[in-house]
Each structure stands twice: as structure tokens, then as C-alpha cells.
Amino acid sequence: MTPAELWAQVRTARYGGAAFLFEWEEARAELTERLWALDRRWRAARPETIADLIVGQNSVVATLRGVDADPVVRWVEEAFLTAPAPDRGTSHRIAVVYDGEDLAEVAETLGLDPEAVAARHAASVFRVGWVGFLPGFAYLTGLDPGLVLPRRAAVRPKVPAGAVAVADAMSAVYPLSSPGGWHLIGRTAKPLLTPAGPRLTLLEPGDTVRFVRDD
């Protein structure tokens, strides 16, 4: 589908008094690419009318800096239609030790051995879908279909920073220690969040991520 055809399907809704939601019925590859392009255009352009622009799975939320909504809707439409696709984004390689607390259980549930879980995870090529939940928490799409399983029944009260996890059809690295409901299969020492640095987070929507075995 062309950007114009996708835009024709958008549902635009006022999101309270100070934001707009642009949402599509379902996520699809062409839409995801447009959302990444929009996110990149926003990061580069930072129009004064928009305070925040948040890319989701099949949506964009734009929060208004002023009260005038028209320029915001126009800017989002223009960027959605014309921003260049990010190609592969920045490529990241993240070294992982596959010794997660849930690795054995994940392997058993999937009918694989832990070695195979690690091998399949390290062979997947991920793209950053969107960032949310915690500062720098990137939802990585592209998990090997053989590793898909629902989230844990109970949320673990404390997942350590650097934990490499899978849930549903996604993978992620916990940038900070926090509660979490994903399955922990490994850990990395690579910082995804630099609270004291000029650049806060490492991964942006559209970036490519590969995990490299370090065990």
C-alpha cells in the first residue's frame, strides 16, 4: 500500500483536550515503516506546535503545545506522506550471555533445549518497533516464530537491568531494574540508557538489532 492509501485509512481522534490520536485498524509492514519515518522526521524537525510525538504499534499520538490543532494534524499528515523511510536504521550488536532465570522453563514450554532457544534468539534480526514502558525500553520485533509464547502469568517484582527477555512475538532488554512480566533468557552489559549523557537512549524505532552470543 502507498503512504496515501494508508493515510486514507487512518482514524483520527481527539485525545482529550491536548492531543490527537492517529490510529490504524491493524499493524502491517508498510504502516510500520511509515511510522518509523514519521518518528525520524519528528526527531529532526521538532515543530513548535507539537510537544511530543509517540509512535506506537499501529498508532501515533501527537500532543499539542498550543491550542490550535490544525497545524498539528497537517504536520503529521505531511510527514507521514513524505518522510523518507529509515532503510535499516542504525545497526546495533548486543552481546548476550544466555543464562536467564527463565531459560530452562522457556525451553521446556517450547519443546526445545536451552541451547536451541539461545541459538534461535541470536539468529533473529530484530527491528525496534517502538519505545515505551520504561526510559529506553525498546520493543524489538522480528522474534523467531518458534520462540513466541505469552507473558509470564505473574509479574516478577524485580527484573535486573540488562536482562534480555522475550514475550509474545517480541524481545527486549530491560534498561533499568524494574518489575516485569517477560521471560528472562539472558543478560547483557551494554547500556541502553545513559541517564548522565547527552544522548539518553540507544535504540530508536526502525533501528536494526542483532544479539551476539557471549557465553
Binding site: Y15, G17, A19, E26, D52, V55, V131, G132, F133
Partner: protein, 291 residues
């Protein structure tokens, strides 16, 4: 400059918020109640969204180490300088050596602005100590002997003395009323909107938001993709629990939003404590449903 002698509530430095990074997982944060921040700053002679001290819950005792103008806004509660009562919503010139005591109530929320602005490091365009997640290291815990400097030197002598009328603020309830407009998922809920909550009982409250307790209000899941959140969104999860999102909310969510609180009423969230009952009132122009 002030020095805390005792800290009994949750105190953080907050300004107008850190916008432009929600797509990196960082909620804007900023003052829970923007009108109170602006009022306190006006009294202290600061820019409206300058950084100030936000006090949630119980109060504090502090030594004023450098003479400076200041202002207190939010929900008025007893305030004393060396034992003498002081008013809220009035410019105060407080001399070095004074001991200030802010009582533990009534109310949940006070903004204390210091002339020159309360100092916290400027990070990505804001001095808000948000998120207050200790793991991030942006929030400096406030305890006895924590010193708060000012961003700029306070003026050497009193300037204009202002008095504001707190009646302009949403009422310091109860009853707690929040005006709401239909959210983006209003039409996904069944035609019978009476199944939606009209009254919410607060189970937990904080800068992230307000979680409701009580009967499930809409226990049928609606599948949505993950999407960005906004302050004041009322999310209803699959168990029917409502969550009213505050300044330090999670930046994305996947629960349907039947209502959004109007921006003018967001400050009410700062005043809510567990057990409070909140009524949702359709704002003018919102679609009204037969009871």
C-alpha cells in the same frame, strides 16, 4: 538556599515538564498541578514554569539559610515561621535563620516556590526530577540536611508583594469531581455506557497516576495495539480496573480509554489519597448518556 530539618512527605523539584522525549520512554513529568506551580512562582517573582518544590503527603520543617521571597500554593495547610502563622497564596519575604514548618495536612499537595527557582540539574531541557525512579538517579531523595539551592540568586530585597485568590483553583474537595470528555475508544465500548464507571474509589495514588478499586467496571477485554499515553487518560483494563494517568505515567499503554480528564482538572489528581471517591462528570459539549 534552604535546608530541610525534617522531611515527612514526598518532595521533588518540578517545573513545567520535559517534553519531546516520550518516544524514548520518558514521560514529561513536571508539576502534578500546573496552576499551583504557576501561582507559587508568581508569588516568588519567578517565571511561571520555573522549578519549585512539590510536596505530596505530609509536610516538612526547613531552615531558611539565605533571605529570599517565596510563595506557597496548592491545598492550604498550617504554615509557621518560628512559630508565627504565615498565609498561602501571598508573597512571603523570609529572613535567613527562620525555621519554617509546614504541617502534615489537611490535603495532599503543596507547591513551594523559592525566589530564583529551586535548583536541580538541568537535564534535557527541564529541571524536573522525573522520573522519580531511584534507578535512574535523577531524583535526589530529600531528607534532613538536604540543601536546596536556587537557580539564580534571590533578589536582595523584597519586590512586589502579591496576593492570589485560591478560589480560582479547582475546589479542595471532597466531593472530588473530574470533568471528562469522551476518549478515543468511547465508541468501542458497548452502547450501554451505564456499564462505565461514574464513581471511582482511589486504591493507590502517586505521580504515575491514580488506580481505582472496587467493582470491575468493564470486564470484557478490547484488543488494541500499544499506543502513546496522555496525561488524564482514563484506562480501563481487562479486569475492569480504571487507571487515571498522571505526569509520570508509563509512556505507552494498551488499554482502551473511554474518557480523558480535561486539562484544567488534572491538578485534582494531586489531591487524591487512597479511599477518596471521585465522580466523573461529562464536560460541556461531551456526549451525555441517559442515566
Amino acid at each position: 538556599m534552604i535546608e530541610f530539618l525534617s522531611v515527612r512527605g514526598m518532595i521533588s523539584v518540578q517545573d513545567g515538564g520535559r517534553f519531546g522525549r516520550q518516544n524514548e520512554g520518558l514521560a514529561p513529568g513536571g508539576a502534578f498541578d500546573l496552576p499551583s506551580l504557576k501561582a507559587a512562582n508568581l508569588l516568588a517573582g519567578n517565571a511561571p514554569e520555573a522549578a519549585a518544590l512539590e510536596i505530596l503527603g505530609a509536610g516538612l520543617t526547613a531552615l531558611v539559610r539565605v533571605s529570599l521571597p517565596m510563595g506557597f500554593a496548592g491545598h492550604p495547610r498550617p504554615l509557621h515561621a518560628d512559630g508565627h502563622p504565615l498565609p498561602f497564596y501571598t508573597t512571603l519575604w523570609v529572613k535567613a535563620g527562620t525555621v519554617l514548618d509546614l504541617a502534615d495536612g489537611p490535603g495532599q499537595h503543596v507547591v513551594w516556590a523559592l525566589g530564583g527557582g529551586a535548583y536541580a540539574p538541568l537535564r534535557h531541557g527541564s529541571r524536573s526530577e522525573t522520573p522519580t525512579l531511584p534507578q535512574l538517579g535523577w531524583y535526589q531523595p530529600k531528607r534532613a540536611h538536604t540543601v536546596i539551592c536556587t537557580v539564580k540568586p534571590p533578589p536582595p530585597r523584597p519586590g512586589r508583594v502579591l496576593q492570589l485568590d485560591p478560589a480560582d483553583w479547582p475546589p479542595f474537595g471532597p466531593p472530588w469531581n473530574l470533568r471528562v470528555v469522551p476518549g478515543p475508544d468511547w465508541d468501542r465500548f458497548p452502547a450501554d455506557k451505564t456499564a462505565l464507571p461514574r464513581e471511582i474509589r482511589v486504591a493507590a495514588a502517586g505521580r504515575m497516576g491514580i488506580r481505582a478499586s472496587g467493582d470491575p467496571v468493564y470486564p470484557r477485554p478490547i484488543r488494541l495495539g500499544t499506543r502513546g499515553t496522555v496525561a488524564g487518560a482514563i484506562e480501563v483494563d481487562a479486569s475492569g480496573t480504571a487507571m487515571l494517568l498522571g505526569p509520570e505515567r508509563q509512556t505507552t499503554g494498551g488499554y482502551p480509554v473511554p474518557w480523558v480528564i480535561v486539562p484544567e482538572d488534572l491538578g485534582v489528581l494531586a489531591e487524591l489519597a487512597p479511599g477518596a471517591v471521585v465522580r466523573l462528570i461529562p464536560a460541556d459539549g461531551a456526549r451525555r448518556e441517559a442515566p
